[in-house]
């Protein structure tokens, strides 16, 4: 059931207005914080207020402006979009709190918080995009708005990373633009409100080009190997940026785009017949393993996180590529599962860096004695990545393995297993180092991070546990993921 409701427009508009206010009044610390926190809260309330309706099966739509004849900038909150929007607006609030604490000694805070809000605005715009062109508009805007955040430090290294980031993501954007144009040529529409718009009668070669351009375009932000090169470099950004943008906004927009392409542009049936997703599944499996192996060799904590992100994102891609309901459930749910666990880890990395100045893993010996709560949160996130039951990551692994068996490609279940082992191999040593090794020489005596950093960290870690234990509770986000999957598979 579709209802016209202005709240789908409000959700991105609130953060947009917030960024404007921050640019105007942000020189004053109070107003900067007031607008950032106020808008984040308001937006969360708006998105949450749509949640009960979305769970009942209502879809909210709002046509904003006709962009070119026949194609509007339009918003539509279906189950998949709601799921993504809920995750990103929840995390915006906690990250804003964290960022206020973290960024205190930094320069150019007006610019930082202004563009930060713009990024969230565009992310929700992507989540609620009713058609491919709207999605593309916000996708590209997100690229541009992230650039000032990535090069926030303004060092030559940051500028280099920024250039690399733009080169990758804008090329991806160009692919999406061409893919969208070709889709319009073939299908005559760009809407994302149906389970598949491309006609089955179209020329398979055209469809192959279409699939390649769109998946490659979104695959840049989803960091599928070999398109992942920008992500580890972009870690020069301040930690809250890495957290929100490289655990939630930017990379998830890519993964979300791939879900949209698979489920709403092509549709499951057509793709099953064409078989384009099989190579994609292999590529995703390769990415999962290869990025994990690369992560093993990183000593810089944030770089290890980056490679872990590359690996984890491909869970979503793999889930989409397997084309079975269980795998699709995993793909959608992993948007949240990965986001909360990864952001916890980024918060931990940021807290350690701000409190003790340490950024390398070998320096972390004994840190668990000084920052027990922070490192407890880290442990929770690690266990989630390893896929221990009761933690969020387990849900993904379980459904993804189920999906692999359902599709008859059982070897992907082995990939899941191998990935679990690799995750254990690169996360648990850090836990061991933190709690079971004494500090080299004397500890820094720094104690826990300040509350503005600690509270968001703990909240996110707690939520990882909630997500891991409530997948069957009605009204929880997982129900939304199921609703999305049911729509896509026409169940």
């Amino acid at each position: 059931m579709e209802t016209v409701d202005v709240r789908v427009l409000l959700a991105p508009a609130i953060s947009f207005a917030c960024s404007g206010l921050v640019f105007l009044m942000g020189r004053n610390v109070f107003w900067r914080r007031f607008w950032s926190l106020g808008a984040a809260t308001l937006k969360l309330v708006v998105v949450m207020s749509m949640l009960p309706g979305a769970l009942r099966g209502t879809t909210y739509v709002w046509r904003f402006i006709e962009f070119t004849p026949g194609i509007s900038i339009a918003f539509r909150a279906d189950a998949l979009g709601m799921f993504f929007a809920t995750v990103s607006s929840t995390l915006w609030l906690v990250t804003t709190v964290f960022a206020i604490g973290y960024m205190e000694p930094e320069h150019a805070k007006v610019r930082f918080f202004g563009f930060f809000a713009l990024c969230v605005s565009t992310t929700v715009g992507v989540a609620f995009a009713e058609n491919l062109l709207t999605l593309f508009v916000f996708y590209e805007t997100l690229t541009i708005c992230t650039y000032p955040l990535v090069i926030h430090e303004e060092t030559p290294e940051a500028l280099r990373a920024g250039r690399k980031y733009l080169a990758y993501t804008l090329s991806g954007g160009a692919c999406i633009l061409l893919g969208s144009a070709l889709t319009y040529q073939v299908a005559g529409t760009l809407t994302l409100s149906k389970p598949g718009i491309l006609p089955a009668s179209a020329d398979p070669r055209t469809l192959a080009i279409l699939f390649t351009t769109l998946v490659a375009g979104f695959g840049v932000k989803a960091a599928i190997i070999p398109l992942h090169g920008w992500l580890p470099s972009a870690m020069v950004a301040p930690t809250p940026v890495s957290a929100l943008l490289h655990a939630v906004a930017v990379v998830k927009v890519g993964a979300f785009g791939i879900l949209r392409v698979v489920y709403n542009v092509f549709g499951v049936e057509l793709l099953r017949r064409l078989g384009f997703t099989v190579p994609l599944a292999y590529l995703a499996a390769f990415t999962i393993i290869a990025a994990s192996v690369a992560a093993l060799f990183q000593d810089n904590l944030k770089r290890r996180l980056a490679y872990s992100t590359v690996s984890q994102l491909s869970y979503i891609v793999l889930g989409a590529a397997l084309l079975t309901p269980a795998a699709a459930c995993a793909a959608v749910a992993h948007i949240a599962n990965q986001a909360f666990a990864k952001i916890t880890m980024f918060f931990v990395a940021g807290s350690i860096q701000r409190t003790t100045g340490k950024t390398q893993i070998h320096e972390l010996a004994g840190i668990g004695h000084e920052m027990p709560l922070t490192m407890a949160a880290f442990t929770v996130a690690s266990l989630s990545f390893v896929g221990v039951p009761l933690f969020a990551g387990f849900i993904t692994k379980w459904y993804l393995s189920l999906g692999a068996l359902e599709s008859g490609m059982w070897w992907f279940a082995i990939v899941m297993l191998a990935s679990s082992l690799l995750n254990a191999a690169y996360w648990l040593p850090i836990v061991y180092l933190a709690f079971f090794k004494g500090p080299h020489g004397r500890g820094t005596g720094s104690g826990e991070a300040r509350l503005l950093l600690l509270v968001p960290t703990l909240l996110c870690a707690a939520w990882v546990l909630v997500l891991g234990t409530t997948s069957d509770v009605p009204g929880m986000p997982f129900a939304l993921a199921r609703a999305a999957v049911e729509f896509v598979f026409k169940m």
Partner: protein, 497 residues
């Protein structure tokens, strides 16, 4: 209704012409008075052309026969959707003149200021006339008015480099005018008429296609020099970079479009006659357009002078439009036609913003302008909006052209050119990002740049009106697109339809 009054059409040309000619007399040597007079003249021209645009949107194309002598015997002005460029000319011209007020005081010899406005108004009058004329010979006359005033405007500062640039421009411009004139002569020779619509009718009955083909080739070549399509672009970078900034805005945004508009008029004459197969010309336009996009971007990357960069960017954008012509499918032609308008807006925004920065700081090289974002936040922000728009990031005005020409490339079955266009645009981003980096993210070298401060309102307002339009024309892209579509449909309609 007020917009139905028939005489708006000749007035649109006569008003700026009259104001231009009378400026030195009215000013009496006072630069300020000359400025006010010129602003008034261009504002009236904008209002007049607005009436024409309203009428064409409501009623479709219309004609004006001078002295009641009906075409093909009398002189005809004809206003169609593409002719709405006249409105863009008048409004952008007005903004450039408003901007010039403080700029000219600083940059020009006071004695020359009234003549400077005369030249600007003559340029505007010529451009409006060129957009609305229905007659080949008058097209040439207006083209010459535009060219001559443009040469003089490039040289107006009186510096030696400016004179050199103007001379180079003059030589190539004169050659291109001759080519066009020769082509017009051949059309007259074969058809016996100079009226565009009449020539289109009579060409169908011409015995031999050869003179027609030669005429088309000559005119197309001449027009492409005027538009600075690669490799005929050599005059453009110096002329556009050295001219005073408001002049650069007019030259780069409006004057180069003369060639494109002329080509469009030529298409209107020969497209449906079927006497000459235009496939070869389309191929040429496609390839030269694609090469222009890439070469323009390539040269721009190595520039340090901010206005030089913008000048080369014009070559790339002309490439977009010419490629759209070459694709010759409906979407591509619509995209190209709309980009003629949008590029005018975007490039004027960029040149005026750059001019304001140069005016305030006295520097024009990127390496010296580091930190300008801190010193002049509003101007630098406008320049960034323009940069984002010209690269074609949605939802700004520059995006529409990319989207439509990509659609058009697929429609025409020439997907490779769609790829060339979209990836060529990435190349363009490379140097605009250098500009943004220099303004915002690199350590300043000159302290006075950081303390420059935004320019006076008479400069800031035109800059921001244009920057706002860069956004608005993108978001409300439906309006220009639906406005221009009838003209393209008529062009592509089957013969006899």
């Amino acid at each position: 209704m007020w917009w139905q009054w028939a005489h708006w059409l000749p007035l649109a040309v006569l008003v700026p012409l009259g104001f231009g000619v009378t400026t030195p007399a009215v000013a009496g040597g006072d630069g300020g008075r000359a400025w006010r007079w010129a602003v008034l003249g261009s504002a009236l021209a904008a209002a007049t052309t607005l009436a024409l645009v309203v009428r064409v949107a409501r009623e479709g194309p219309f004609s004006y026969a001078f002295g009641g002598w009906n075409p093909p015997y009398g002189i005809e002005f004809r206003f169609d959707e593409v002719g709405a460029f006249a409105f863009v000319v008048a409004s952008l011209g007005m903004l450039a003149i408003v901007f010039s007020g403080r700029y000219a005081e600083h940059a020009l010899d006071p004695a020359r200021i009234p003549y400077f406005y005369t030249l600007l108004l003559l340029d505007i009058a010529g451009l409006i006339g060129f957009s609305v004329t229905g007659d080949l010979f008058n097209m040439y006359v207006f083209m010459e008015i535009i060219s001559l005033s443009s040469y003089a405007l490039v040289a107006v500062s009186g510096e030696r480099t400016a004179e050199m640039a103007a001379f180079k421009y003059l030589v190539l411009g004169a050659v291109s005018s001759l080519l066009v004139l020769f082509g017009i002569g051949m059309v007259y020779g074969t058809t016996g008429t100079l009226n565009l619509a009449d020539a289109a009718r009579r060409l169908g009955g011409v015995g031999s296609a050869v003179p027609v083909a030669v005429a088309i080739a000559l005119m197309a070549a001449g027009f492409m020099v005027k538009s600075a399509l690669f490799p005929l672009h050599v005059w453009l970078p110096d002329a556009h970079a050295i001219a005073p900034s408001p002049v650069s805005a007019v030259l780069s945004g409006l004057v180069v479009k003369v060639g494109l508009l002329g080509t469009f008029r030529l298409y209107q004459v020969v497209y449906r006659t079927g006497i000459v197969d235009l496939a070869a010309l389309d191929q040429l336009f496609l390839w030269l357009g694609a090469i222009s996009i890439v070469m323009g971007a390539f040269f721009a990357i190595f520039q340090d002078d901010i206005k030089m960069m913008l000048a080369y960017s014009t070559i790339s954008n002309i490439g977009y439009i010419v490629m759209g012509f070459g694709l010759a499918s409906k979407f591509a032609l619509i995209g190209a036609a709309v980009h003629i308008f949008n590029h005018a807006i975007i490039k004027s925004a960029l040149f005026l913003a750059a001019g304001a920065i140069i005016h305030q700081t006295g520097y024009r090289r990127l390496s010296e302008l580091r930190g300008a974002g801190r010193g002049m936040p509003l101007t630098a922000a406008a320049l960034s909006v323009g940069a984002v728009s010209i690269v074609g990031i949605p939802p700004t005005a520059g995006f529409l052209c990319k989207w439509y020409i990509a659609l058009g490339a697929f429609e025409a079955g020439r997907a490779a050119f769609g790829f060339a266009l979209v990836f060529g645009a990435l190349f363009i981003f490379v140097y605009y990002i250098r500009m943004v980096n220099a303004f915002y993210f690199q350590e300043p070298v000159h302290a006075d740049v950081v303390h420059a401060g935004d320019p006076p309102l008479s400069m800031l307002v035109p800059v921001w009106v244009l920057a706002g339009l860069c956004l608005a024309m993108g978001l409300a892209g439906k309006i220009p697109l639906t406005f221009i579509t009838p003209a393209i449909s008529r062009l592509l309609a089957p013969i006899g339809g």
